[in-house]
């Protein structure tokens, strides 16, 4: 039983395959971590699922989402899925929010665009409820605040509230905590875990941070240069990595509880 299954997924710019025939699957309610360094193709993979690739890119292969082949649907059908059944949370909440509208307006707009016939009043109530669910205090008041009146962590909560408002089956989070301070990062990761527990949504977490993924993901794919170098449960990959690249990557991660001699750099990459 899978919620989303990608087979031979390929993203091509000109003559370069930035994602090169990768396979993976997401179980309903499960968490798939996609880890890799810059240029590994992890973000392009998420944009390929959402149908948000730049126009200069071409997509090949298959993405089956709960029985719907996403590579075959029309843009109109995709718009009905995107933001409704599949929601996305990006790295930088400030650039994903419109500074001219209150956060409540933006959450309500996202909600109404997928729920035809919902009144403004009901959408506003849904926005407040979503903000409540991500633990924004005084949601009834803060719903009328503008993005700049929120801290970075609070803005990311707003983005998660927006993603949640339509009760999606899948949330794709691309580096959701990378721009945040470590204490705030921990809160947002806890929130994502709680949301999954409460709503049963599946999560694809895209990150360069192995420690973050180890705390959150059930399953893992490790990407490099557009290919999957290793796939398995998080426990398998962290406790017994098979690919030399994964082994090298795990060796290169600085450990907070331990100061070792020289870190072991990953061979073969750019210096």
């Amino acid at each position: 039983m899978t919620l989303l299954q990608a087979k031979g997924l390929t993203v091509t710019f000109g003559a370069t395959n930035v994602v090169d025939g990768i396979d993976f699957e997401v179980r309903p309610g499960g968490t798939l971590g996609i880890v890799g360094e810059s240029g590994s193709g992890k973000s392009m993979t998420s944009l390929a699922i959402m149908g948000l690739l730049p126009s200069s890119a071409t997509r090949a292969g298959s993405i089956d989402f709960a029985g719907t082949e996403l590579t075959k649907v029309t843009e109109r059908q995709m718009r009905a899925i995107r933001g409704d059944r599949i929601a996305m949370v990006f790295q930088d909440p400030l650039s994903s929010l419109n500074p001219y509208y209150t956060v409540g307006t933006q959450i309500a707009e996202a909600y109404r665009s997928h729920r035809s016939g919902v009144s403004r009043k009901a959408a506003r109530a849904a926005a407040i409820e979503a903000m409540d669910r991500v633990h924004i205090k005084d949601a009834g008041k803060r719903v009328d605040d503008y993005p700049h009146q929120f801290s970075g962590g609070m803005r990311q909560r707003v983005m998660i509230a927006m993603a949640l408002s339509t009760e999606p089956e899948l949330i794709i989070a691309d580096e959701p905590t990378t721009a945040l301070d470590v204490t705030v990062q921990a809160q947002i990761l806890d929130l994502l875990a709680e949301v999954r527990r409460d709503t049963g949504a599946a999560l694809i977490l895209i990150t360069h941070d192995l420690a973050v993924v180890s705390e959150v993901a059930d399953d893992l794919i490790v990407m490099r240069h557009g290919r999957v170098v290793e796939t398995g449960t998080a426990e398998q990959i962290f406790s017994d990595p098979q690919a030399p690249y994964t082994q090298a990557l795990l060796d290169a991660v600085p450990r907070i509880d331990d100061s070792i001699g020289d870190l072991r750099p990953v061979p073969g990459g750019p210096a």
Binding site: S38, D181, V182, T183, L189, D258, D262, A271
Partner: protein
């Protein structure tokens, strides 16, 4: 002998848009009575969240920003208010490495010109010519010296950061200020740059002021740590003291929040790889 000593550093900024015709602007205290000492061969890490004042503190100590009050001593000499030629001498002793290697390198200059620029600004004699100096600097940071006529865009992020380090080393500084110098790099490249900085410090004995938000990186590179929040140092001490028995509530919260690879998985991995890490 203390290399760099900061005493009661205070930096206030005017809050934009709060000044009236006669009413002075509201002031924001970014750095609030911060003191520290840096010795030769040591790496003092300033850690804290965003807005904690760690970068401003480093800039005050490097005389890139003027203090509101407080003093900075370099080798016992008060450098807090030096200007002109005297300040130039401070620049020779204190150099910086920045976070984003590309925005801190002029894209229109060759590597040779970039790494030797501090010598030019200092109007210092260049023994053996610019080419020779550039080549030797590039070798010290493990870059191919034959690439000295290339431009920054022709290098990867990690290589560009090596260029930034080479430039900082050109004048033989005694203090190196690294402001989030490895934060923008991939973990594999980060490891190389950390190793490079450690190696260079062992060879040259400079003192390093290392600003970072990533505590795991700090654990690998620092000898001493000062934890900042709200413009103040709330805890400081030797690295292992701060990490292993944090005294201040904020430090504890900060350390607890750092994501960690599950210890049981970590132990299993080392067992499976036939490498058992000795307990500390």
């Amino acid at each position: 002998m203390t290399l760099l000593r900061a005493r009661n550093l205070v930096k206030e900024f005017d809050v934009a848009g709060t000044a009236g015709l006669v009413k002075p602007a509201r002031r924001f205290t970014a750095v609030d009575h911060v003191s520290f000492e840096l010795h030769a061969g040591q790496t003092l890490a300033l850690v804290g969240g965003s807005g904690s004042g760690k970068s401003t503190t480093a800039r005050l100590a490097a005389r890139l920003v003027d203090v509101t009050s407080g003093t900075v001593h370099l080798d016992g000499q008060d450098i807090t208010a030096l200007q002109g030629g005297d300040l130039l001498e401070v620049r020779r002793q204190v150099q910086m490495v920045f976070q984003d290697p590309f925005s801190s390198l002029n894209p229109r200059h060759t590597v040779e010109r970039i790494v030797t620029a501090p010598l030019r600004y200092q109007k210092r004699p260049v023994p053996g010519g610019v080419r020779t100096v550039a080549r030797s600097l590039m070798e010290r940071v493990s870059l191919n010296p034959d690439h000295s006529d290339r431009y920054p865009a022709q290098f990867s992020g990690g290589q560009a950061q090596r260029i930034g380090i080479a430039r900082a080393l050109a004048v033989g500084p005694r203090v190196l200020v690294c402001d989030e110098a490895v934060s923008a790099l991939d973990v594999s490249v980060q490891a190389q740059i950390i190793n490079l900085l450690r190696g260079l410090q062992a060879e040259e004995g400079f003192g390093c002021l290392f600003i970072a938000h990533d505590l795991a990186v700090v654990r690998q590179i620092a000898t001493n740590v000062a934890v900042m929040t709200g413009g103040q140092v709330v805890e400081s001490g030797s690295r292992d003291a701060v990490f292993d028995s944090p005294q201040h509530e904020y430090t504890r919260r900060l350390l607890a929040a750092v994501p960690r690879i599950r210890p049981e998985w970590e132990a299993a991995r080392l067992r499976n790889a036939g490498r058992v890490r000795e307990p500390q």
